[in-house]
Each structure stands twice: as C-alpha cells, then as structure tokens.
C-alpha cells in the first residue's frame, strides 16, 4: 500500500521533471534565435522570402508559447521533426542510433558489474594485501586513462597487429562474417564493448571495494561469522548486498545516461551510436536533433532515477516512504 502510493507519487514527480526540462531546453534553444537565420543568413543568394518560407516549413513562426506547445504535442507522439543536416525524421534516427548505442552499452555495464563484483570481493576480503593494493592501483589507472588512448591501443593490438577483430562500424560493409548478421554484429561489438566495460569496471570497482571494505568491518559481519555461517554466505549474502546500497545511485546514473556517455568509444570505433551523433548535432546546430536527443536522454535518466529509488526501497528496509 505504502509502496504503491510512493511509486505513484514518484511517477507524477518524474512527469513534471521531464516537462520542466523540456521547457528549459526549449527556452534555451529559443534564446539562440531563429536557426534558419543563423544557418542561412550569411549564404549568398538567400533572400528574406526564402528564409520566411523555410521558417514556415520547419514550424518556426508564431509566438514562443505556441511553438512550445506544438513541439510538446508532437514529441508526446514521438515526432521530433526533421533533422536539418540529414533531412530524415529525428524519431527514426534516435531509434536507429539509440539502439546501436544500447547494443554496446548494456552488455558493457552488465559485464562491468559482474567483473567488478568479483574483483571487489577478492580485494576487500584481503584488505591491504598485495592483491588489494594491485586492484586499487589498477582501478585508479583504469579510471583515469584517456578513453581514446585505450581505444587506439585496442585497435592497434587486435585489428592492426593480430588482425582478428574489426576496428570500425557495426557490420562489415561487404562480406558478413560467416554470412550471418548476428555473428558479424557480435564480432564488431567486441572491441567497443571491451573498451566501455573496462572503464565501467574500473570506476565500479573503486566504489564497490571501498563500500565492501567498510561493510566487512561492521559488527554484524563478525556476528554472522560467529554464528558459524560459511565465509561465502557472509560475504555474498550479508556483506555484498549492504555494500551495494551506496553504489546503487551510481549504477542508476550509469544506466540513465548510457545513450549519451559513449561518444568517445563511438568515435574511435566509428560506431553509429547516439552519443557521437548528439555531439555532431550540437556542432552543426541541428536543432531538431539536439532537442530530440536531449529529451530522450532526459527521459532515460528520469526513468533510471525512478527505478533506482524503487530499488532502494526494495533493498533497504530502513528507508521510510515519506
């Protein structure tokens, strides 16, 4: 009863949050001015009449509020207009590019989660040992390594020298590996996923190890051991679940922002993903695309935050549903 009402209230709050972001976004874009003028005014042969007609074509006439509500009404129907640069429906682009990004981000986060749990347990149960110091040092270096550097190293090693993995794109342009879309796609995913998983593992390990060390010092862990429970259960059953509580927020943000957080990887591996597209859209002032991508990323982040809050309620009984 309490939980359902809590979720309902958080849902309504999330909706307001998204609308709020849409207003701010619209106001900011609007403040820059009429994009058509900015993009075309300096070109030779552009008359005021042409600007006027294009402005009408993109629905940029009328008052700000009118335009905002027209836009809001459209995006609710998943209609984000037409990309200025690509001349394609933005919704279609978001879907294609977004799915390509999810294809590398989701496996990368899941792999990182698994690996960082194993490494953190290994390190935290041997606090201040050589293994522990090695893990801390490795995770720190990994955490601060420049992304493109690792990407280029991976390409050098696996594509250039060993020649076993492709260095760009999501599919082969001519012959698919083993004539299969699936196998060829997976083959192309290996390096970008490895790169993203590497960075996520480094950061997650730093957080999780510290949290786990903290939990393992607590009395209830000694008490669980003193009750004769085997170490495996003490660590995985009692300590790990507690250790995840402070890490949950980070995980939520990781999932929430994943559409936009892989531009470097996508650029290094020429992966047709949303992060790289977003940056390009900003550089080229492709307004409909910028707004569409921003709204999609906002929506994902708000949803992930909502799910994180619900996860907290499930995992930690001390949280009061006020």
């Amino acid at each position: 009863m309490g939980t359902v009402r809590y979720i309902l209230r958080r849902l309504i709050f999330s909706a307001f949050l998204i609308i709020g972001v849409s207003m701010i976004l619209f106001a900011m874009i609007n403040a820059i001015g009429n994009p058509i003028e900015i993009l075309l005014a300096e070109r030779p042969g552009i008359t005021d009449e042409i600007i006027e007609s294009i402005t009408q074509y993109y629905g940029l006439g009328g008052s700000v509020t009118d335009r905002y509500f027209t836009w809001l009404g459209a995006i609710i129907r998943f209609d984000f207009g037409t990309s200025i640069i690509y001349n394609l429906p933005v919704s279609e682009m978001l879907l294609t590019y977004g799915l390509e990004t999810l294809k590398i981000q989701i496996p990368a986060i899941l792999i990182a989660l698994l690996v960082s749990v194993l490494i953190s347990v290994l390190a935290a149960t041997r606090q201040y040992s050589r293994i522990d110091f090695g893990v801390i040092a490795g995770a720190m270096v990994g955490h601060s390594l420049p992304g493109f550097l690792l990407g280029i190293l991976l390409i050098l090693l696996f594509s250039y020298w060993l020649g076993i993995l492709p260095s760009y794109g999501a599919y082969s342009t001519r012959n698919l590996l083993m004539d299969s879309m699936v196998i060829d796609g997976l083959w192309h995913m290996v390096l970008p996923v490895a790169m993203l998983a590497f960075f996520n593992t480094a950061t997650l390990t730093l957080l999780l190890r510290a949290s786990l060390v903290d939990v393992l010092r607590q009395d209830f862990i000694t008490a669980a051991r003193a009750s004769g429970l085997p170490e495996r259960r003490v660590v995985f059953g009692h300590a790990l679940r507690n250790a995840f509580i402070p890490v949950l927020t980070y995980l939520g943000i990781l999932f929430g922002l994943m559409l936009g957080t892989a531009p470097v990887t996508e650029t290094v591996f020429t992966w047709p993903g949303l992060g790289a597209l977003y940056i390009m859209a900003i550089q080229q002032l492709d307004y409909p695309l910028i707004m569409g991508a921003t709204m999609i990323i906002t929506f994902m982040l708000v949803t992930a935050t909502l799910l994180t809050d619900i996860a907290y309620v499930i995992i930690d009984p001390r949280i009061r549903l006020a």
Partner: protein, 334 residues
C-alpha cells in the same frame, strides 16, 4: 579427576595487533578457565582486551591482529590447531557469542526471521519450515512478545533492549555449551540492563550452559558470576570465586576497582559526603606497555622491583590466583 576438567581452558593467550606504528599487545599472556555450567566474569577497563580475547576464542580476531601464542582448550582440544572448517562448525553451534552493541550486530537489511532461520537451517540442515517454529519458540523464551510478528520485522524497527534479546536468541539457537557474552548490557538503558542480566542468568541456569560474561562493571559480575577474572592491560591480575574477589581481594588493582564502585551504604551527596575514589592515571598504551608489572605506574603499593619484573600468576589459596610481586608472585624479566 576427569569430571573436574573445565569446559574451556585458556593458557598464555597472546593476541597482538601488527600495526604500522608497531606491535600492539592487546592480549599478552592470559590464562583463565570456565567450568561446566558456570559463569565466569571477566572484568577490565575499556581497552583491556576483553572483546579481542573473546573473539580469539572463536578464532575471529580482526586483522591486523593475530593470535600469536597460547592454547585454547575447548572440551580438551586446542582450538588453535583446528582447521578453518572444523572451527566454522563449532561457531554458533557449540560456542556462541553475544555482542556488545545490539544496534550494529544485526544485519540492517534482513528481517529478524531471515537472520535467525538462516543460522538454524545452515547448522542443522533443517528446512525453513521446520526452523521457523523453533525460532519463534526461542524468541518467546528470551522474552519477546508476539514473536511471530517480530519475525517479519527489521532490526531498526526494534528497541535496543529488544535487539539485544534477539542477539541472545541468535546465540542460543543451536543450544551451545559455551556462550561468550561481550558486555551484553553496556549499550543499554539502566532499567533494561537489569532485565537483560536477569534473562541471561535464567537462561544460563535453564540450559546449563557455561558463560563468559565480559564487562567493565563490577556490579554486573557481582550479580552474575560464579568466578571472576580481573584483567588489566591485556593481562590477568586476579582470579577467584566471586565471594573472595569481593570480600578478600588481593591484587591492588582489584582493590582499587572495588573502591571506585559506588556503594549503596555510602552517601555521595550532602554535607558529610564521600568522594568516590578513582584510580589515578590512565590505562596504559599497549603499543608501549609499561615495563615490569603493567600496573606499576598507577599502583599504590608499587616498589622499585615492580618496574623491572613482570609478575607471574600464582595461587595464593586453592582457586585463588594472583599476579602481584607483593603477594608472593615470582617475577620474570620482561
């Protein structure tokens, strides 16, 4: 002869912390024994090594501490030579522990029922369904009303006294022969303290178990203990039956402890008030323990030799052991 064998016999136990600053001699040559179905009270100031020596019984001293010497004979067998697997099988089943702070010694994210049934199902390979009625029964025994409801509650929903009752129930789940109670009432309100002590005494008699009751409070051991061991700075000062400790204490530290206890027949207020004596000085730093007798810089009876010689425990009467140079203990250079 065999019948007189104590359930637990600790000999020359040493637990040291290996820190960056040096070796902290938290427990430094401790001897005591616990007979069957008796309560041994271990008294000592904060930091005298009470918790660490209790954890040593379970071989659970936290790093950077290590048990570096001694024997822990439980039922005649040395626990320090047991394999980790054998140790794990003893913990919770034959030797159990009640913790000092009930607020931190229960897992905050699992229900009371989940935590207690887990232990029972693990040790006795019982199913959850079989374990639950036994947990409920035990919760009733430790004085928890409406145990079936409590089972579904979480630690934060219970009061401190209630949580400590849960802690006691957890220790007694598998009917252990030895219970280590580490200051089980220190973190509780005075009124609750009395209730918990009463409960412990009752359960100890009922299950005929042996108990080591660790405390810094002479008043607590006065009510509970058959015999008493007084510890100071990681070493034993004096061991005797409770009556002897209170009526004929030998060691200067024991005497000082007793004098610093408030007494019901003394008035500490009003014009004719007494001043409650306290032991001058501070407990020693165990990183650099005092030479000779650990108590010499605070001892009213200290002599020159006390700085140099470490007193060795000696029986001054049957069952009454003292380590003080001025009570006839031999001294060693250490």
């Amino acid at each position: 002869m065999a019948a007189a064998q104590p359930l637990l016999e600790v000999r020359d136990l040493k637990v040291h912390f290996f820190t960056r600053e040096g070796v902290v001699r938290a427990v430094d040559g401790v001897d005591y024994s616990v007979n069957r179905a008796e309560t041994l009270g271990i008294v000592g100031e904060s930091g005298s090594g009470k918790t660490v020596s209790s954890l040593a019984m379970l071989r659970l001293v936290p790093p950077p501490a290590r048990t570096v010497a001694g024997q822990i004979l439980f039922d005649g067998e040395d626990l320090l030579t047991r394999t980790p697997k054998q140790m794990a099988a003893l913990r919770g089943r034959r030797i159990a522990m009640i913790f000092q702070n009930p607020a931190t010694s229960l897992n905050p994210i699992y229900s009371i029922g989940a935590q207690l049934t887990e232990i029972l199902t693990w040790h006795e390979k019982a199913s959850r369904r079989d374990a639950e009625p036994r947990v409920i029964e035990l919760l009733g025994l430790v004085g928890i009303s409406d145990p079936a409801t409590r089972l579904r509650q979480y630690p934060h929903e219970l009061s401190g006294g209630m949580r400590q009752r849960i802690g006691i129930a957890r220790a007694l789940l598998c009917n252990p022969s030895l219970v280590l109670a580490d200051e089980p009432t220190t973190a509780l309100d005075v009124t609750i303290q009395a209730q918990i002590l009463e409960l412990l005494a009752e359960l100890q008699a009922r299950f005929r178990m042996s108990m080591v009751l660790v405390t810094h409070d002479m008043g607590v051991v006065a009510r509970m203990a058959t015999r008493i061991t007084v510890m100071y700075a990681g070493r034993v000062c004096e061991t005797a039956d409770a009556a002897t400790i209170f009526n004929a204490p030998q060691h200067p530290y024991t005497r000082a402890l007793l004098e610093s206890m408030p007494r019901i027949d003394h008035s500490y207020a009003g014009p004719a008030r007494r001043v409650l004596p306290s032991i001058p000085g501070r407990p020693p730093n165990l990183l650099n323990p005092p030479s000779g007798c650990r108590f010499h810089d605070r001892c009213p009876e200290a002599q020159v030799e006390c700085r140099r010689l470490l007193p060795v425990e000696t029986a001054v009467a049957p069952g009454h052991i003292v380590s003080c140079l001025r009570r006839g203990s031999p001294g060693i250079v250490a």
